[in-house]
């Protein structure tokens, strides 16, 4: 067609007399001398197109990829798949419910049907959604993802370290070719199953990874650290990326045998002095102290200046707004010392130490630092003690706002510890305006226990009534309702759907009822999925 297209682009008025076209179909038209040049060109073009289409010659087949491997899990029922399709249809704010539904399908050992895969892969642009999607796309989804540039993140799936007891067969391939999320998951798994292998993998690629990837992989690596990891971490402590250095310093602080942990303990010991037994002559105390029952005494001395040898260990000189310099230096050191250290040097329990700290001048600073240390070291005894201690103090002084670290501790505590404490909060009505309810509810990860779910529902029905005088529920209420809808125990679905409240018909549009309907709508979806699985 090239020659005739050229003539048509230029136009017959400018192209002058032309040679006949070298095409069998055009020759039929050429035989008709009565036609104008324009008509001749048009009919030739039409005849050539029809001729070429009728004579279409197929190519030789290219190499066809091997078919998808056999699925190892069963495909979920149409009813379960319909729930996922409905969530994909919804706006972006259904992603928590989507993640919950995909996780439930994965936990029930199912995968999504193939027809749904392109939609679910296209829909996943959040890291947490992708993580859940990877668990339900099965062999077919991973096979499919290899052909689409935008779906490379889905090519490899590593089950979470909690549920797997051996490395996947393609572990080496995932480590070298997988996307960052898959590699981080794999590294976490390797830390659980074969720490040496994990160290070998990470040190092998360390110099060729970008800073973001180094930070992420190091974060995944820092699980169950021991003395064998010290040389590698000390090397990464000198990394050119501040994020990597900070991660490495924090990790080294958590390993008992590391020099950094030893230095931090020595520095902390200089600032915090704890003594047990009755006070006597030569007491270390400058001020009277609580902890009267145990006779434990405590003194805190903040550093006057920042020693320059602290800086290479990650102690920052400049405090954030609202914090004094000396308090900031103290906070950074003590929060990187294992809380059990204070028990070892004083011989008293966490609660006795906390009681002793109650009346010292810098009590709040010490509590903040020890709370951070308890969460960093996952010191469960200490987390329980700090939380309970702070809660009791709050009950005694209801006008003081509770410290922020209460929610931080709840977020790290195992659900078995967090739920009874959250029940206390709900029973006390402390969050009746939902100010921090969202953070607190979100802290209890996974599906709530039946007992906690019932306590929550009772609280919801009670406070929904008492606060519905406000015309519009706050964002905290909305987010709290979403968190609750995603986590409520399945035994409470029917109770959640039997609300004692009805629409307020008198006051126009009822935004509270809209919130309730949205909560119940999510419960209904979960119920449908639960029944379908």
């Amino acid at each position: 067609m090239n020659a005739i297209v050229q003539r048509a682009i230029v136009g017959t008025a400018r192209s002058g007399p032309q040679e006949p076209l070298d095409h069998p179909a055009a020759s039929i038209v050429d035989a008709r001398n009565e036609l104008s040049p324009e008509r001749r060109l048009l009919l030739s073009a039409g005849a050539m197109l029809v001729h070429d289409r009728a004579g279409f010659v197929p190519d030789s087949a290219p190499e066809v990829p091997a078919p998808s491997p056999e699925e190892t899990r069963r495909i979920c029922s149409p009813a379960a798949s319909a729930v996922v399709a409905e969530l994909l249809d919804r706006s972006l704010n259904a992603y928590e419910l989507l993640i919950g539904s995909l996780t439930a399908i994965h936990d029930a050992n199912y995968v999504l049907p193939p027809a749904l895969l392109p939609r679910v892969l296209d829909h996943s642009n959040r890291r947490d959604v992708r993580s859940a999607v990877r668990g339900v796309i099965g062999e077919r989804g991973r096979w499919l993802a290899q052909f689409n540039e935008g779906w490379q993140w889905a090519r490899h799936h590593v089950d979470s370290a909690e549920t797997v007891d051996r490395l996947p067969d393609d572990a080496e391939t995932v480590w070298l070719e997988g996307d960052l999320n898959s590699r981080a998951e794999l590294l976490k798994l390797a830390r659980k199953l074969d720490r040496g292998k994990a160290r070998e993998w990470l040190s092998g690629v360390w110099n060729v990874e970008k800073a973001d990837a180094r930070t992420r992989l190091l974060e995944a690596f820092c699980v169950a650290l021991d003395a064998d990891d010290i040389p590698f971490l000390e090397q990464t402590q000198k990394d050119r990326s501040a994020g990597v250095r900070s991660e490495a310093q924090e990790a080294l602080a958590t390993i008992d045998g590391s020099d950094l942990a030893r230095r931090m303990r020595e520095r902390a010991k200089e600032m915090v002095r704890i003594e047990s037994g009755p006070p006597g002559i030569g007491s270390i105390l400058r001020a009277p102290v609580a902890g009267k029952e145990s006779g434990t005494r405590m003194e805190i001395t903040l550093p006057a200046t920042l020693p320059k040898e602290w800086i290479p260990d990650g102690i920052e000189a400049k405090p954030p707004t609202g914090t004094g310099e000396r308090a900031w230096w103290f906070l950074q050191v003590v929060s990187r010392v294992k809380p059990q250290f204070w028990e070892e040097i004083s011989g008293v329990s966490p609660m006795q130490i906390l009681e002793a700290s109650a009346h010292i001048e810098d009590a709040a600073l010490f509590h903040e630092a020890i709370a951070k240390a308890a969460t960093l070291f996952h010191a469960e005894d200490w987390m329980r003690a700090i939380w309970d201690f702070a809660w009791q103090r709050g009950e005694q002084k209801p006008n003081e706002s509770p410290p922020d670290f209460l929610d931080d501790i709840l977020a790290v505590m195992p659900p078995v510890d967090a739920e009874p404490r959250l029940m206390k909060i709900l029973a006390a009505g402390a969050y009746s305006d939902a100010a921090d309810l969202n953070a607190a509810l979100g802290a209890v990860s996974g599906i709530w226990s039946e007992e906690f779910s019932r306590v929550f529902l009772n609280w919801l029905w009670k406070n929904y009534g008492s606060t519905s005088t406000q015309s519009y529920p706050s964002a905290n209420w909305r987010n709290g309702a979403i968190a609750a809808a995603v986590r409520l125990h399945c035994a409470c679905f029917d109770d959640a759907l039997r609300s004692p409240h009805s629409r307020d018909e008198k006051s126009g549009y009822d935004y509270w009822h809209e919130l309730l309907e949205s909560f119940q709508d999510s419960i209904r979806l979960r119920k449908r999925l639960y029944e379908a699985l």
Partner: protein, 440 residues
């Protein structure tokens, strides 16, 4: 057996109706649901209590809600509910369902009687001939003017065309509508869409302009054409099939017709539904078109992947493809079994024969056995057959197709458009599945 989620999705008028329908797919909003051999019913609590009924034989439906989108979310919701299995039990249809079915039977009967009466009504042949002659004169004027317009385009050169806006093409199309040549008007509008639509647009534009010239050339010699091809030419110019064929001249074929695929397009205020059917015994293929104004429902409910047991009549053509459903005894929700397929070479030969009979044919059905999709990263995907040949595959809905077939060799059904294979569906685990964009 009920419709699958994919089939229900294909029925939905748009994505929001589908989402709303899915939402009503649980038992919470329903009461008094039931089914028997002929129908499916339920009452849905919306702003009021709506009664929904579905004829399981033809998938015709009715809902008492005021929605202008059809099928409404309640109909879709009931289909989803029935598809999920557990919540719709067998029972006797209530009066409001049986009376609707009776009314439908009655209406169909009246329509048939009316049609028979219209056919037997004496015709004023003189007036009819006068009207026909006037129309021919109008069309002739329009075509003469179109030929001049096309000659002007190639005289000035295609290189100057991209400076024209849409009005340039619409004005010419309007002139053809006034000349009662609506078919040609549509072709001129489509020409305007090709300009600047990709680097190779001059070649595609010239090809289509050339085919349009062949059509006006053929019309100039219509009296010398084979009557069947002449009917095709008249239809492409703008005569309706009903004006050309009386039902008695149609060629009726009885078979079990598998609905290979369906597309719905909006053409101004009219929605056009194209249904591609395959006769399971005769291996004949048919294109059944339905039209609906605005949000009105299509006259018949035709669901992809179902099998229509009935009689289809083909309109007169040099390559009969367009057809209407004449009698419909029952529908099967899906087809399980093998489809007789061909190789790529055979499909292309069939398409060449069709083009030889009717040079303006746009698409022919191809059923390719033992074929696999090759997702080529540079260039169009390919459909490859067991003989080692391949044809390009149109873009949509190729990802769903690849996901469902999993790269395994199977039978694909689709449309060959002269340059690419447009997939309609495939046999998955021995069941034919029409694949739409809105998979669920």
């Amino acid at each position: 057996m009920e419709l699958t989620a994919e089939q229900i999705s294909a029925l939905a008028p748009d994505a929001s109706s589908l989402a709303a329908g899915r939402k009503l797919g649980g038992p919470k909003d329903w009461r008094g649901t039931g089914r028997d051999a002929q129908s499916l019913w339920g009452e849905c609590q919306g702003s009021a209590l709506y009664q929904v009924k579905i004829d399981r034989g033809s998938f015709a439906y009715n809902c008492t809600c005021p929605s202008r989108k059809l099928p409404c979310k309640h109909v879709l919701g009931l289909l989803f509910l029935a598809g999920s299995g557990a919540h719709v039990t067998e029972g006797a249809a209530p009066e409001w369902v049986s009376s609707w079915l009776e009314k439908r039977t009655e209406t169909a009967k009246k329509k048939e009687e009316k049609q028979q009466a219209a056919e037997s009504k004496p015709v004023d042949t003189e007036a009819q001939a006068k009207r026909a002659a006037k129309r021919v004169a109008n069309v002739n004027d329009g075509i003469s003017q179109l030929d001049l317009w096309m000659a002007d385009l190639v005289r000035g050169g295609l290189g100057a065309l991209d400076r024209h806006n849409l009005t340039f093409w619409q004005d010419q199309a309007k002139r053809l509508v006034n000349a009662q040549a609506r078919g040609l008007a549509g072709r001129v509008e489509r020409l305007g869409e090709i300009v600047s639509s990709g680097p190779d647009w001059p070649e595609r534009f010239l090809g289509e302009l050339g085919r349009l010239s062949l059509l006006t050339e053929a019309y100039g010699r219509i009296s010398s054409l084979d009557p069947r091809l002449a009917a095709d030419v008249r239809q492409m110019i703008g005569w309706n099939v009903d004006e050309l064929d009386s039902p008695s001249t149609l060629q009726a074929v009885y078979d079990r017709w598998l609905v290979l695929g369906q597309s719905v397009t909006d053409e101004e205020r009219i929605r056009v539904e194209r249904n591609w059917l395959l006769g399971l015994s005769t291996a004949r293929t048919a294109l059944v078109l339905q039209f609906a104004f605005g949000t009105q429902p299509f006259p018949q409910s035709i669901v992809p992947s179902t099998v229509i047991d009935g009689e289809i009549s083909f309109y007169e053509s040099a390559f009969p493809q367009r057809a209407q459903i004449l009698k419909r005894s029952s529908d099967e929700p899906r087809y399980s079994g093998k489809l007789v397929g061909s190789s790529i070479a055979e499909m292309l030969t069939h398409a060449a024969e069709a083009t030889a009979c009717q040079p303006w044919i746009e698409r022919t059905v191809g059923v390719i056995a033992d074929a696999r999709l090759a997702p080529v990263s540079s260039g169009p995907w390919q459909l490859c057959d067991a003989d080692g040949f391949a044809v390009p595959v149109a873009r949509s809905p190729r990802w769903t197709m690849l996901a469902m077939t999993g790269g395994v060799a199977t039978t694909f059904a689709g449309l060959w458009n002269g340059v690419a294979f447009e997939p309609l569906g495939a046999v998955i685990d021995d069941v034919y599945v029409a694949i739409s964009e809105r998979a669920s």
